[in-house]
């Protein structure tokens, strides 16, 4: 483990005085600690990112030269150009410095700065993953809530059976199925949606027509990812609510004369959201996996496709870059989930 992690760790574990009782300062200290914890995690990712590539693959220049006629001099020149002749700690420092300035190196494959390629490919992924995540949370929580309140009824058994089947399904296989049925068409069903890509040829991405065309291209991928993500939210929400239903404070709420709808909405749901928030924050990596595989299936030129393309070369700087972006996204999303948890549950804000 490197010095950076040790420092970060020490920082994250410094005991903080937390005064008891309702105190505005407590909230800020808690917030600061969460922020620091996320930063430590990010630093850990940075270190993993460096060592994963350098330790497991100590001679990227050979990988790069593979399959080409190269002289030892060329290899040496390449080694020097990539900064691989420096001692490891120095390489790490250079890597850190570059990272701080948003510099991920030059892609072997495209001979362009990795950072620019990533920026170019970022938005399809953000749109795809963002839309699916929001839709799946809304639909998943709704399904879970309704089936918990109608436990044992037809709606519940249908929902639970389908969500647990969806949960057991590789999301990209679902994509393949939807693609085969709705984009290509099977039997009497005609192909409705475009077969892959993000935009039809000859249309400007910036025009109104281009916007509609891109949205149309994204329908199937978004439907696939939404279905894949919502299964888990729905299952967790259902079991969390069932857990919550036996609680005494719900009897209090009913005794006050609240309608069942209000008892659920005001009292039960918020408490049931707590385990949901925890589990969601633990499963954020799953969202990234979905982006990679679904972009591959539907040939959407986003970060996921960039990653799988880079694997074939292998384009090490590109992989490092996308890996860092994915990790950072997960860490930030994790922080958001943690803060959300704190907002939902005052008991953890200490």
């Amino acid at each position: 483990m490197s010095a950076a992690v040790e420092t970060a760790l020490a920082g994250a574990q410094t005991p903080v005085d937390t005064p008891a009782g309702p105190n505005r300062a407590t909230g800020w200290v808690w917030f600061g600690r969460k922020l620091l914890g996320s930063f430590a995690t990010l630093m850990f990712m940075v270190v993993v990112n460096f060592f994963l590539f350098r330790v497991l693959n100590p001679h990227p220049e050979r990988t790069l030269a593979r399959g080409r006629a190269t002289t030892p001099e060329q290899i040496a020149a390449l080694t020097h150009k990539l900064g691989l002749d420096l001692p490891l700690p120095e390489q790490f420092l250079v890597y850190l410095k570059n990272l701080a300035t948003g510099e991920f190196g030059i892609s072997y494959q495209y001979s362009q700065p990795v950072s620019r390629l990533i920026l170019d490919r970022l938005w399809p992924t953000v749109v795809l993953v963002g839309t699916s995540t929001i839709l799946s949370i809304i639909i998943g929580l709704w399904l879970g809530t309704v089936s918990a309140w109608n436990r044992g009824h037809k709606f519940d058994s249908i929902t639970t059976t389908s969500t647990i089947t969806l949960y057991s399904m590789p999301e990209w296989w679902l994509g393949l199925i939807l693609f085969t049925v709705f984009a290509v068409g099977i039997g009497p069903i005609p192909g409705l949606f475009p077969i892959g890509g993000l935009i039809s040829p000859g249309i400007s991405a910036l025009s109104v027509q281009g916007f509609i065309d891109q949205a149309w291209h994204l329908v199937l991928p978004i439907v696939t990812l939404t279905l894949a993500y919502l299964a888990e939210y729905s299952l967790i929400m259902r079991s969390a609510l069932l857990d919550e239903m036996g609680e005494d404070y719900l009897v209090t709420a009913r005794a006050k004369g609240l309608r069942d709808v209000l008892v659920r909405r005001r009292h039960a749901t918020r408490n049931a959201m707590l385990p949901v928030a925890t589990l969601v924050s633990l499963n954020l990596g799953f969202i990234v996996s979905g982006a990679i595989t679904i972009e591959t299936v539907f040939s959407i030129p986003g970060l996921g496709l960039l990653t799988t393309d880079a694997l074939r070369i292998p384009d090490i700087p590109m992989l490092q870059g996308t890996f860092f972006v994915f990790s950072a996204a997960v860490v930030i999303a994790n922080l958001v989930a943690n803060l959300l948890y704190g907002w939902l549950d005052p008991r953890v804000r200490v």
Binding site: A20, E247, N271
Partner: protein, 358 residues
């Protein structure tokens, strides 16, 4: 004028996987305005079930028959809309275990204020907030604590929050279900003090459920003693505690000895055996297997609650005043005299209280 609360021949049976479980078997009671009635008994005697039916809060698997009239109207047959209007506005509940009965993620002020605006939509947010502040002050908690969450308060404070919440809609009847059970003795006294002061001050009717007859004796006007789902004795609170007529009341009274009464230290306290399993109640008087007065006759039929030449109703064939050897009498004996009680009961330690009921 109709009683605040009138319960007529209430039967409650829980349908469980292990068979039907008759929890309440024909209970009748009534509370007039400004009157406080205590219900005493061991864990599982059905006293909390009776309390839960007042606002029709019994679990879904409970089958109920009889009448529960709140302000003259039967809550058991009411339409849901009407029932919701009666809940908290006509009668409110102080639940046991405030930690679990309060929503952990809502500020206590909001929880107290919730029923106010629910039952009277003309109250503005600011008015409700003022009222919440007053309620908090009434139970001895600074109004500023309304912004706290339940976990930030002590057990006694939480229970007082429950009291403030129960008074939010100015009900005429308050049902307190073991309001002090989970608290230690000092805090118990404090919370009970707050409760009884407010009840008297506001002239409310109170239905107080407790396993502790001594608490009921000091806070209530009248007391019911329940055993295995039935009322076995009813009367003025102090009298039932000092001079119990039913042998079960006697045992219950003796299990809470009065501090400073030297005789109580030598009197046998408690009761042998466990309360009967409601699924297979003993034949005849349900109490006879544990009763020190039992005779062959006791196994023949369950005695009804009736006045036996004494001034109050008792469900015991031996309660004609001649045969009663109560703990109260034992208390008056000199310590050096042998206590005239069935062998084997003498050293039974005080039975567990109602704490395990929730």
């Amino acid at each position: 004028m109709a009683s605040l609360l009138e319960i007529n021949d209430l039967h409650v049976t829980y349908r469980t996987a292990g068979g039907d479980l008759p929890a309440v078997r024909g209970v009748s009671l009534s509370i007039d305005a400004g009157e406080s009635l205590g219900v005493a008994g061991e864990s599982g005697c059905g006293k909390s079930t009776v309390a839960s039916t007042v606002l029709r809060l019994q679990p879904k698997n409970a089958q109920v028959s009889g009448q529960v009239l709140v302000a003259g109207k039967d809550v058991l047959t009411m339409r849901w809309g009407h029932l919701r209007a009666v809940r908290w506005a006509d009668a409110s509940v102080i639940f046991q275990g405030a930690l679990h009965s309060l929503n952990p993620v809502q500020r206590i002020g909001d929880q107290i204020g919730e029923p106010i605006r629910l039952h009277d939509s003309s109250v503005s947010k600011a008015e409700a907030a003022t009222r919440v502040g007053q309620l908090l002050e009434q139970v001895g908690i600074p109004a500023s604590r309304g912004r706290s969450y339940p976990h930030q308060l002590s057990g006694g404070q939480r229970q007082r929050i429950m009291i403030a919440m129960a008074l939010a809609c100015r009900p005429s009847l308050v049902v307190a279900d073991e309001p002090t059970t989970a608290l230690d003795v000092m805090v118990q006294a404090q919370v009970l003090g707050v409760l009884t002061d407010l009840v008297h001050e506001l002239g409310l009717g109170l239905l107080l459920i407790s396993h502790d007859l001594s608490v009921l004796g000091t806070t209530c006007d009248r007391v019911l003693v329940m055993y295995a789902g039935r009322v076995v004795e009813e009367g003025p609170a102090g009298r039932v505690f000092d001079d119990p007529h039913h042998p079960y009341s006697g045992a219950l009274a003796a299990s809470f000895p009065r501090v400073g009464d030297p005789a109580a230290r030598f009197a046998p306290a408690g009761l042998p055996g466990d309360p009967p399993d409601p699924r297979s109640l003993p034949a005849g008087c349900t109490f006879h297997p544990r009763c020190r007065l039992q005779t062959a006759e006791c196994q023949l039929s369950d005695p009804p609650l009736q006045i036996h030449g004494l001034s109050r109703p008792v469900a015991c064939i031996h309660a004609d005043g001649t045969n009663m050897k109560t703990a109260a009498e034992a208390r008056q004996r000199r310590p050096d005299q042998p206590v005239e009680l069935a062998a084997g009961t003498g050293s039974t330690p005080t039975r567990r209280g109602g704490r395990d009921e929730w």
